[in-house]
């Protein structure tokens, strides 16, 4: 018994000074928030940590809303959000918040049809109507007219949506509301909305859940973040943009969509319905949120360094991970704005 106690005490004596020393020279930055850019952020922070000895970045993909909550409660050093942050939320942080768009992504409409027809074309009014529960069959006349030569079966359309509250849903409904007045007046815009009640509307948790359900259900259609659809090899539809062109996701369409909007001074820009003829219709920036006044100047310096890394080296990773790199002019604006992190 006594021997145990001495061992324990000795052990504690050995452990405690070393752990103190460790936390002294290593700087740890913690962040939380959006899951949509999580794969990219995880890759960024890993390589950043390898290049900057002594700085580790821990990022937790909890969801945009949770990230904003954490930032307000001051439990993290930075947060990330697909829905940026409202003025009301920003007012809750004394000292102010700096929003920085870090990358951008596309949301695709994935489908599963017998015979795997590739590159299905979806006219604007048709996909809005499908998600409103008005168009219920794949053999719909307008769909057939847009896709001559494609054998569209007489199959029920099963709509797969997100079951959890999500930034992806926010961006998608924001776009649908811009396309269809009926959508704007009906379900509206939000991280969760009141979807039409139908036997053919099912919901799955997270991007992976929707992807899996679409893949498993013949006749299914669902909205997914591009990277998830790409890696799960889900068929992605060509969407008709405002200019009337059918554009495929993952190509030139994303950057074209971003180029069509001007960055406002608060860096909170939405692209609900881009007008450029080559633009892919559903694209969005995603933001990191920083305190303008940090308590520890060392941390502030590390955060600025991290932003700089993400804007330069990091952007090169974006394309291969399925995200859209920031346009050059936006990178300049963001880098200037990052100086306010003090």
């Amino acid at each position: 018994m006594k021997r145990w106690l001495t061992a324990l005490v000795l052990g504690l004596c050995i452990i405690s000074p070393s752990s103190v020393a460790q936390s002294d020279d290593a700087l740890r930055l913690t962040g939380s928030g959006a899951t949509f850019p999580f794969p990219l952020y995880a890759a960024w922070f890993k390589t950043f940590g390898q290049k900057h000895r002594g700085v580790t970045v821990d990022y937790q993909g909890k969801g945009s809303g949770a990230g904003i909550q954490d930032l307000i409660n001051r439990t993290v050093d930075f947060a990330a959000s697909d829905a940026a942050m409202t003025d009301e939320q920003m007012a809750k942080v004394p000292g102010g918040v700096q929003l920085l768009p870090m990358t951008a992504g596309e949301i695709v409409i994935g489908y599963n049809l017998p015979g795997n027809p590739k590159a299905l074309k979806l006219p604007r009014e048709v996909y809005a109507s499908i998600f409103l529960g008005k168009t219920t069959k794949w053999s719909d006349a307008k769909l057939k007219a847009a896709n001559p030569g494609v054998n569209l079966p007489d199959l029920d359309i099963t709509v797969v949506r997100r079951a959890d509250s999500s930034g992806t849903t926010f961006v998608f409904t924001n776009h649908l509301a811009a396309v269809s007045e009926e959508w704007a007046k009906g379900p509206g815009v939000g991280t969760t909305v009141n979807w039409p009640k139908s036997d053919k509307f099912v919901a799955s948790p997270k991007n992976d859940g929707v992807t899996a359900t679409v893949k498993q259900t013949p006749g299914a259609i669902g909205y997914i973040e591009y990277a998830f659809a790409k890696f799960a090899k889900v068929e992605m539809a060509l969407l008709q943009n405002k200019a009337g062109q059918y554009v495929a996701p993952g190509g030139e369409g994303g950057p074209a969509a971003l180029a069509s909007v001007q960055m406002p001074p608060n860096l909170r820009a939405w692209v609900p319905d881009p007008e450029a003829p080559k633009a892919y219709p559903i694209a969005t920036y995603t933001w990191m949120l920083f305190y303008k006044s940090n308590k520890d100047p060392k941390k502030a310096a590390a955060l600025r360094e991290m932003v700089d890394y993400c804007l330069t080296e990091g952007q090169k990773l974006s394309v291969q991970m399925g995200y859209i790199p920031l346009p050059d002019n936006v990178v300049g604006v963001v880098r200037k704005a990052a100086a306010t992190i003090q």
Partner: protein
């Protein structure tokens, strides 16, 4: 000189007594030493604190949920319990479809899981198998309880749903006029969710039913045989009625587990806020609603989610209490026999 020798001796004696720690004393004849008393007291104190901490934890959880839920109750009243709309953007909340889905899926699971669980219990306790093989089967059934919920969910999504689709389509085509088969299966839905739930509650039902059947004294069965009953007559007319209260308790426990199951259901039920009788239609449950909406909920939504949590807690508590009461009564009745 003499004095120092005395001192020396008394020191040696002291050392001797000191060196005999009472805790590992080989003799039992001596009175408990102070050390014994201390150990005893510390242990008793620890045990008591642990017990109170558990109770305190329960009270704290109830208080936390209750106090937050009352805010939601004050804002939305009882309307939440009967409304069917869940629209965060317009601040309209209703959990009737979730209550319906929770009870419907759990009852279905209970019907399926209960039937198979009890059958299994009979098979494993009534000498159909050599004892050693019965033990193997028992272990396998109990292993079902160790599979994580999310694995059940994935299995349901990737194996069960595709396997069920042709059956469901056939039933819809032939029996579509019956409201239970009124829709086609669109991937996730009540039927696959209930089936998976049935498998999940099977170990609980089987294990508790086995205990109940084993509690019936052997002479009861012998008496039945003695009166010329066949094996099946003995099982169905003597053993089952004798163990009935215990088996009923097993069913209630299984039902309680089904009500609270979350992850597998969130993945399989389709999370659609509608009330329908059709087995192939998507539905929703309270537990899935809570799990999926908490992470991103705003302050107003959290109040209502807490309210929903309280409703779920109330349903589970009532069911579990019922099971507990029935079980103790059955044990007492059998002991008296």
């Amino acid at each position: 000189m003499r004095f120092s020798a005395h001192l020396e001796r008394s020191r040696a004696m002291l050392r001797a007594t000191d060196r005999r720690p009472a805790a590992d004393s080989p003799t039992v004849s001596g009175p408990p030493s102070n050390w014994d008393y201390t150990v005893d007291r510390v242990f008793r104190g620890l045990a008591r604190t642990a017990t109170w901490l558990v109770l305190l934890l329960l009270v704290a959880i109830l208080w936390e949920i209750g106090s937050k839920a009352t805010v939601g109750m004050a804002h939305h009243g009882l309307g939440v319990l009967v409304s069917t709309t869940w629209d965060v953007g317009r601040q309209q909340f209703g959990v009737l479809p979730h209550i319906w889905g929770t009870l419907y899926s759990s009852l279905l699971a209970l019907a399926i899981g209960g039937f198979f669980g009890i059958t299994m219990a009979i098979f494993l306790t009534q000498d159909f198998l050599p004892p050693r093989i019965a033990q193997v089967f028992r272990t396998i059934v109990e292993l079902l309880a160790a599979i994580p919920s999310v694995v059940y969910g994935l299995w349901g999504l990737f194996v069960l749903v595709p396997a069920m689709r042709p059956v469901a389509d056939w039933m819809f085509a032939r029996l579509g006029w019956i409201p239970f088969f009124g829709t086609t299966l669109s991937g996730p839905g009540l039927a696959p969710a209930s089936l998976v739930l049935a498998i999940m509650i099977l170990p609980t039902v089987a294990a508790v039913s086995q205990d109940a059947l084993r509690l019936v004294p052997y002479r009861v069965k012998e008496a039945a045989y003695g009166m010329g009953a066949t094996r099946w007559e003995a099982i169905l007319k003597v053993m089952l009625p004798a163990a009935s209260t215990g088996i009923f308790g097993a069913l209630v426990l299984g039902f309680g587990r089904a009500l609270g199951e979350t992850m597998a259901l969130a993945m399989l039920i389709g999370n659609s806020n509608q009330i329908t009788l059709s087995l192939f239609a998507p539905a929703n449950t309270l537990a899935a609603l809570l799990a999926l909406n908490f992470p991103e909920a705003g302050p107003r939504e959290v109040e209502v989610l807490m309210y929903a949590a309280l409703v779920l807690l109330a349903i589970t508590l009532v069911v579990n209490l019922l099971g507990e009461v029935i079980m103790t009564r059955s044990a007492r009745r059998l002991a008296a026999r």
